[in-house]
């Protein structure tokens, strides 16, 4: 899997390309951890070019969102992991596992970044 990183004032964008499975999940986990270490808790994951998602990837997503939301500026504002561009096959995995209700998803990157 390829992960491209782009920093915006409001949030950090990670664009995922390829397969997110047991072999590549540690790579995403590490990338997110490194953002957390820099005090960056607002993350958008662009999944438009994600071709495949298996449960080890889902585990990284859920743990990342829990960690991000522990970081708070005020009671109403804080960190989050949000998703832009869910391809149909990835959305199906989200629907099957109940992840659709666990994440805020946006139709494009601009909206997702702007949501922070």
């Amino acid at each position: 899997m390829d992960i491209a990183h782009k920093r915006f004032n409001r949030a950090d964008l990670l664009s995922l390309k390829g397969r997110l499975d047991a072999a590549s999940a540690p790579q995403l986990k590490q990338q997110i951890e490194s953002l957390f270490e820099q005090g960056r808790y607002r993350i958008v994951l662009d999944m438009s070019e994600l071709e495949y998602l298996a449960s080890p990837g889902l585990r990284v997503l859920i743990e990342a969102r829990k960690r991000a939301r522990d970081w708070k500026i005020t009671d109403l504002e804080g960190g989050d992991v949000r998703i832009a561009n869910l391809p149909p096959r990835i959305k199906e995995v989200f629907d099957l596992t109940g992840f659709t209700a666990l994440f805020e998803t946006y139709p494009d990157v601009t909206e997702a970044i702007g949501s922070f």
């Binding site: 499975d21 047991a22 072999a23 495949y52 298996a54 449960s55 080890p56 889902l58 585990r59 859920i62 743990e63 969102r65 829990k66 939301r69 096959r89 995995v93 099957l96 596992t97 109940g98 209700a101 666990l102």
Partner: protein, 260 residues
Amino acid sequence: MHLVYSRKAADNQATEVLTVPATLDSLAHISAFIAGATAQAGLDEHTAWQVELAIDEAATNIIEHAYDAAAPGAIKLTWQLSVDELIITLHDWGRQFDPNAVPSPDVDASLDDRQAGGLGMFLMNKLMDTVRYEFDEQHGNMLTMTKHINRSSEAPQVFGLSGRLDASGTDQELERVRTAIGNGVRHILLDMGDVSFMSSSGLRALLLLRKDVLARNGVLRLCALQPQVLEVFSITGFTQVFAIHRTREDALAAFGQGAP
């Protein structure tokens, strides 16, 4: 890397075996192996993806839990086609797996209450028609999963032919193709990559097969012909009759684009 790959066709049933080390590097091999199975079964793209994901989850569980990471053992995968099912087994010789010890995830739980484990098994159960675990001291863990093959599907079914298509060999090779047509499969792709020789009897049998397929509004395509086999088609002028493709991928891509 230790990699064993074998292929045989017995009793009109396609079956293949892959043995790989239980490491993350093997997941790509396993995925390619399963893609071969779903193509042979003639599964549509969506069903093929469901099978690929289920097997990926099963293999990941074995890689992460069956063996000690320092000394990974092997996973042996087998797929087999019956008339209406794709049957896939994963065999390992690691510690005993007890499916009842894995809590099922609560997919309706809120984020705070949501546990990250158990999703792999949950997906396997969702994506496959049957999932069965067996263990015994001698043979280790055996996981068998099945997926129903929808024979009314418009997806082409792929058959790998091999050996000599001559007066004596052709009937045997084409028997399972005829069985499939009898079972309602309409679109057929014959992968002739392993066919080393074809006589006029072989050509005649293919013409009859083509007639059967066309009579059912189906499409017959051939692919991966060896040069000496392709020559039989060209000198008899039958390259214009049959839809012949260079690779299996080309041929599969051509289905769905109308009659050749």
